[in-house]
C-alpha cells in the first residue's frame, strides 16, 4: 500500500477550548476513497482543513504526499483539491465564470482547459446551464459544480467536506457516481459525511467521535463484526412503537429502530435473540436475520442507543381533542397552492393527518415541501386553498390556534445568547405559563432532557445534540396537541437521533399529532404515512411500505426507502 496521507498523534487545539482533535493517527492509502464519518463536532472539518494546509497542527505529525501541508503549502496546493462545506462557489457568477476563475487559479490553461471543461460539464450535466448563475442552481447542481471546480487541475488529493449535507438522495447518488469514476485515475479521496449509508460505499472508513478516531477499517470488516446481530421483527400485530419500546428493554438488545411495518433490532452478541413473548409482538411475529449496516457498527462502537422509554411522554397527559372535532383531520390541506410570481411552489396539495399520527413530508430540494410545511404552520399565506389545523384556518384565529401547536425549526432556532434556563423560561412564558406552574414545567423539562449540567450555558455553546434536546423541550413544554418538526435531526449523531425519535414515538402514542420533514430516509421509516412532494405536486402518499411496494421489481425485490424515493421521483420526471 502506498500511503498518500500520513497522520501521527495529531492534536489541534483552538485557543481557550478543549482539543478539537486529539491523538489522531491514520494512514490514507493512495488511490482510495476514504469516508470520514461522525456526528457534528467530531472534528471532521478540522482534520480536512489540516490536510489542506489551512490550519496549523498544535502537536503531532501530518504529511500529505510526503510534505508538510502547512509549511510547504506553496508546493502542495496545486496537488490538493479541497471543497469546503458551502461548496466555495460565487453565487453571483455563472457556471462558466466560476469554472474559468478556478481554472485560472489552478493554472489550467488553453487546450487542457477546454478539454477538462468539456469533460466536467458533460459529466455533471451542466452543459445546458453554463450561463446560469451559481446561486440560481439547485442544491444538487451546486454541489456538482463545486466538485467540478475542485477537480480542475486534476489534483492528486481530493478533500470533500460534507458534500451531501442538505442535499436529497438523488443528488447524493449522482455525486457519488462522479467521484467514483473520477477517482479511478488514481486520485486519493477523503469524503466527510454524517450519512452512514454514504460512507458504506467507500473503500475504507474512519469513524470519528469527539475529536478521536473510534474505528478505521473497511466498511465490510466493520459490518462483519455485526453479522448475526441484526434482526427484523416481521408480521407484527399491534402498535409497532410500543413493540420497539418493549424490545429495547430486553437486555439482549442494544439498538432498535422502526423500519416501515417492521422493527429492526441490533443485539449485543451473535445469536442472543430476545424473547418475542414479553415484548408483545403478537403470535404471528417472527424474527428474521438481516444484513448489517455500517450504522449498526457505529452505534455499537458508541455503546449502543440508550433510551427505551421516553421520559417526556411519561410527563405529558393523554391528548384529548374536543369531541366535535374531526379526529381524522387534525391537520388538513385542501387544494393547497402557493405561487411566488409565476413559479408555483405548491400545487393543489391535499392530505389529512389523523390524531396521533406521524406524518412525513419528503421530497428533493426545492420541490415544495418546505413551502407546504410553512403554510400548514401559518408562516406563509396560501395563494389558493386552505391549510387547516384542527379545523381552524390559522389566519382566522391565530393566537388561539397557535397556542395548541409546537414548532421546532431547522437548525434548532434558539436564542444563542440566552442560557438554557432563560430559553426555557422565555418559551414557556410566551405560551402563557406563569408562576408555580411555569417553575414546575421548567424543572420537569430539565429532568426529562437531563439538561441540568447545562443550565447556565448560553445555547450557542451547547453541543448539537443538547441543542436539539433543548429545542424539543421549548417546543413541547406548553403541552401542544400537535407538533411541527422541520428537519429536526440534521447533523446530529445517530445515537441522539434515536433518542429524539423515542420521544416523538412516545408523544405520538399519547395522541400528539406530528408533522415532520426530513432528508434522512431511515427517519422516514418512523412515519406512519409519507407524502412525497415533487415539483409542487403530491406524487405519492402512503405508508413507508406502500411506497416501497410501488417500486418492487424483479431486480430489486426488497427496495429500500431511498430506492422508493428515487424511483418515484424519476417516474414523475418521465411523465
Amino acid at each position: 500500500m502506498i500511503t498518500a496521507i500520513e497522520v501521527k498523534s495529531l492534536q489541534k487545539r483552538f485557543p481557550g477550548q478543549s482539543p478539537a482533535l486529539d491523538q489522531i493517527s491514520v494512514n490514507i492509502a493512495h488511490g482510495s476513497i476514504t469516508g470520514l464519518v461522525g456526528p457534528d463536532g467530531a472534528g471532521k472539518t478540522t482534520l480536512l482543513r489540516l490536510m489542506a494546509g489551512l490550519l496549523e497542527p498544535t502537536k503531532g505529525y501530518i504529511k500529505v504526499l510526503g510534505m508538510d501541508p502547512f509549511l510547504q503549502c506553496d508546493d502542495l496546493r496545486a496537488d490538493i483539491g479541497y471543497m469546503p462545506q458551502k461548496f466555495g462557489l460565487y453565487e453571483d457568477l455563472s457556471v462558466i465564470e466560476n469554472l474559468n476563475l478556478y481554472a485560472d487559479l489552478r493554472n489550467v490553461l488553453d487546450s487542457e482547459r477546454q478539454r477538462l471543461f468539456r469533460r466536467l460539464l458533460t459529466f455533471t450535466d451542466l452543459t445546458k446551464f453554463t450561463k446560469r448563475y451559481a446561486g440560481k442552481l439547485s442544491g444538487g447542481m451546486k454541489q456538482k459544480l463545486g466538485l467540478a471546480c475542485t477537480l480542475l487541475g486534476t489534483p492528486k488529493i481530493l478533500l470533500l467536506d460534507e458534500p451531501g449535507v442538505g442535499v436529497d438522495p438523488i443528488s447524493r447518488r449522482e455525486l457519488w457516481r462522479m467521484v467514483r469514476e473520477l477517482a479511478g485515475g488514481g486520485m486519493t479521496v477523503l469524503w466527510s459525511t454524517s450519512y452512514l449509508d454514504e460512507a458504506e460505499l467507500c473503500d475504507s472508513v474512519c469513524l470519528m467521535n469527539q475529536g478521536r478516531i473510534v474505528a478505521d477499517d473497511t466498511p465490510q470488516s466493520l459490518k462483519s463484526t455485526m453479522r448475526g446481530r441484526c434482526l427484523h421483527i416481521t408480521n407484527i400485530q399491534g402498535n409497532r412503537r410500543n413493540l420497539l419500546k418493549q424490545a429495547l428493554r430486553a437486555p439482549e438488545v442494544i439498538d432498535g429502530v422502526i423500519q416501515g411495518a417492521n422493527v429492526r433490532l441490533v443485539t449485543a452478541a451473535v445469536g442472543a435473540y430476545p424473547d418475542l413473548g414479553p415484548v408483545g409482538a403478537g403470535p404471528t411475529a417472527r424474527l428474521v436475520e438481516v444484513e448489517p449496516r455500517l450504522e449498526d457498527a457505529f452505534i455499537s462502537l458508541l455503546g449502543g442507543s440508550s433510551s427505551a422509554e421516553s421520559a417526556l411522554a411519561a410527563v405529558i397527559p393523554e391528548v384529548e381533542l374536543p369531541p366535535d372535532m374531526n379526529q381524522d383531520a387534525v391537520i388538513e390541506a385542501k387544494q393547497l397552492t402557493k405561487r411566488f410570481g409565476k413559479f408555483t411552489a405548491t400545487d393543489s396539495v391535499n392530505f389529512r393527518v389523523k390524531k396521533g399520527e406521524i406524518f412525513g413530508l419528503l421530497g428533493p430540494n426545492g420541490a415544495g415541501k418546505s413551502t407546504t410545511f410553512k403554510m400548514e404552520c401559518g408562516l406563509l399565506k396560501p395563494t389558493n386553498g386552505q391549510a387547516l389545523v384542527m379545523g381552524i384556518d390559522l389566519k382566522e384565529s391565530p393566537s388561539k390556534a397557535r397556542q395548541r401547536l409546537g414548532y421546532m425549526a431547522q437548525k434548532f432556532s434558539l436564542y444563542r445568547q440566552l442560557t438554557v434556563e432563560k430559553n426555557l423560561a422565555f418559551f414557556s412564558g410566551i405560551y402563557g405559563l406563569t408562576g408555580e406552574r411555569q417553575k414546575h414545567k421548567i424543572q420537569q423539562m430539565l429532568d426529562v432532557f437531563s439538561l441540568h449540567p447545562y443550565l447556565e450555558m448560553p445555547s450557542a455553546d451547547l453541543p448539537l445534540g443538547i441543542k436539539q434536546r433543548l429545542a424539543l423541550a421549548c417546543a413541547v413544554m406548553h403541552g401542544p396537541e400537535l407538533l411541527f418538526l422541520d428537519e429536526p435531526t440534521s447533523g446530529v449523531d445517530p445515537v441522539a437521533r434515536r433518542e429524539f425519535w423515542t420521544h416523538i414515538n412516545g408523544l405520538a402514542n399519547k395522541g400528539v399529532t406530528v408533522m415532520v420533514t426530513t432528508h434522512f430516509m431511515d427517519e422516514a421509516e418512523y412515519c406512519d404515512r409519507i407524502a412525497l412532494v415533487y415539483r409542487g405536486k403530491l406524487i405519492a402518499l402512503g405508508t413507508p411500505d406502500d411506497l416501497k411496494r410501488k417500486v418492487i421489481t424483479k431486480e430489486n425485490p426488497n427496495p429500500t426507502m431511498e430506492d422508493a424515493f428515487i424511483k418515484l421521483v424519476r417516474e414523475a420526471d418521465d411523465e
Binding site: L54, C73, D75, R77, M83, P84, F87, D104
Partner: protein, 379 residues
C-alpha cells in the same frame, strides 16, 4: 518555480479581478454604496451644513418711540441679514425668543432717544443673543455691531458731532471671495464620502467572502498573498476613483463649486488616499470576518473620525494636542486639505507634497498591518 507556479502570477490576478468586477456589477448593494450613497451624502452635507449664517431672526423690543430709536430701527430693518420680529415685553423676552425661534433680540429702553440727544452717553442698545447656539450667537453680535457702527457714523455726521473715525476694515476671503462655506465644505465632504465608501466596500466584500465560505475555497488554491490583496484593491480602487469623479462632476456642475486645480494632481492624491482607506477596510474585514461587525467598525473608525477629526467642519488647530495627534493617524485630514486646495487655489506644491508624504506613510502603515494580518490559511 515549479510546475505549480509558486511565483506571482498576473494571470491569476487578472482572473480574480475579473471575478471581483463581475460581482460589483451584479451586486446592487455595491452599486448603492459606490454611486448612490456618495451623491446623497454629498448633497446632504453640502446643502445642510451651511455655516454662513445668511439671515438671522432677531427680535426687537422698542420701548422708546422717539426719533432716534426709529432711526436705528429703520437701519436694522434695512439690513439684508436680519429678519426683525417684534417682541412684546421685557418680562416675556426670553420666552418669546424661544417661541418665535429668534436667535437674538435688540432692546431699546424708553429713554434711548432722549439720551442720544443729550449726547452724554449712556444710551445703551442691548443685544441679547441665544447662547445655546454659540456660532450663530457670534454672527448675531457681529451683524448688529456692524449695523450699529454704520448707523452711529451716519448719525454723528448728521449732527456734526465729531467722533473718532472708526478704522475701516476691508476683509477679503482669498480664493473664495464671497466666503461661501459650501466651497470648502464640498471638497471636504468628498473626503468624508470616499472614506466611508472606500472602507465600507472593502470591509464588507472580504467579510462576505468569509461568511459565504468562498474565502476558504480561494485559500486552498495555489493563490499568493499578494495576489489576494491586490485582487481586492484594484477593483475597489477603480470603483473609488469612479465615485470620486462622480462627486467631482456633481460638485462642479450641480453645486457650482469652482475647480481651479489639475485633474492629474487630483488623481495622484486620490490614489494615495484610496490606498490608505482600502487598506483600513481590508484590515477591518480581515480581523472581523463578519459583515455586521465590519460595518459597525467602519462606522466607528471610518466615518466618525473622518467627520470629526478630518478638519472639515471643525478646526484641527483648535483641538487639544492628543486629538491633533490622533487625527494624524487617519488619512482624511490630509486628503480633505488637499482637495480644498486643489479645488480653490490650484496647485500649491509645498502643501500638496506634504500631504502626499503623510498619505504615503499612512498607506504603508495601514497596508503593513493588513499584510501582516492576511494569511494564506485559516489560523
Amino acid at each position: 518555480m515549479n510546475s505549480g507556479g509558486s511565483g506571482f502570477s498576473l494571470r491569476r490576478l487578472r482572473a480574480l479581478n475579473k471575478k471581483e468586477f463581475l460581482q460589483i456589477v451584479r451586486d446592487p448593494s455595491s452599486i448603492l454604496i459606490a454611486f448612490i450613497l456618495p451623491v446623497v451624502m454629498l448633497f446632504f452635507i453640502g446643502y445642510a451644513i451651511n455655516l454662513d449664517t445668511s439671515r438671522v431672526r432677531v427680535g426687537l423690543l422698542a420701548l422708546d418711540g422717539g426719533e432716534k430709536a426709529k432711526s436705528f430701527i429703520s437701519a436694522l430693518q434695512a439690513s439684508p441679514v436680519i429678519d426683525l420680529y417684534p417682541i412684546l415685553s421685557q418680562e416675556s423676552l426670553l420666552r418669546e425668543m424661544a417661541q418665535k425661534k429668534l436667535r437674538g433680540a435688540v432692546v431699546l429702553q424708553n429713554d434711548f432717544s432722549a439720551k442720544v440727544i443729550i449726547g452724554q452717553g449712556g444710551a445703551a442698545i442691548q443685544v441679547i443673543a441665544d447662547g445655546g447656539e454659540p456660532n450663530t450667537a457670534n454672527f448675531v453680535q457681529a451683524y448688529i455691531m456692524g449695523i450699529w457702527q454704520n448707523w452711529s457714523l451716519a448719525h454723528s455726521q448728521e449732527n456734526a458731532i465729531k467722533t473718532t473715525r472708526p478704522i475701516d476694515i476691508h476683509t477679503r476671503a482669498w480664493f473664495n471671495p464671497s466666503a461661501i462655506s459650501r466651497n470648502f465644505l464640498i471638497p471636504g465632504s468628498i473626503a468624508i464620502v470616499l472614506t466611508v465608501i472606500g472602507a465600507m466596500l472593502t470591509s464588507m466584500v472580504v467579510a462576505r467572502e468569509w461568511e459565504r465560505g468562498t474565502m476558504e475555497a480561494l485559500l486552498s488554491t495555489p493563490i499568493k498573498k499578494l495576489e489576494l490583496l491586490l485582487s481586492k484593491i484594484i477593483p475597489y480602487y477603480t470603483l473609488g476613483m469612479a465615485a470620486m469623479f462622480l462627486c467631482l462632476i456633481v460638485a462642479t456642475t450641480i453645486m457650482d463649486v469652482p475647480f481651479r486645480g489639475s485633474i492629474l494632481i487630483l488623481c495622484v492624491i486620490s490614489t494615495l488616499f484610496l490606498g490608505c482607506v482600502l487598506g483600513m477596510g481590508l484590515l477591518i474585514s480581515t480581523v472581523t470576518r463578519n459583515q455586521f461587525n465590519a460595518a459597525s467598525a467602519t462606522l466607528l473608525i471610518g466615518f466618525l473620525p473622518a467627520m470629526i477629526l478630518g478638519g472639515i467642519v471643525f478646526e484641527i488647530a483648535s483641538m487639544p494636542l492628543i486629538l491633533r495627534f490622533i487625527s494624524r493617524l487617519f488619512p482624511t485630514r490630509y486628503y480633505a486639505n488637499s482637495l480644498q486646495t486643489i479645488f480653490q487655489t490650484g496647485f500649491v506644491p509645498e502643501l500638496i507634497w506634504t500631504n502626499a508624504f503623510f498619505l504615503i506613510i499612512l498607506m504603508f502603515f495601514w497596508f503593513g498591518i493588513t499584510a501582516k494580518k492576511t494569511k494564506r490559511n485559516l489560523e
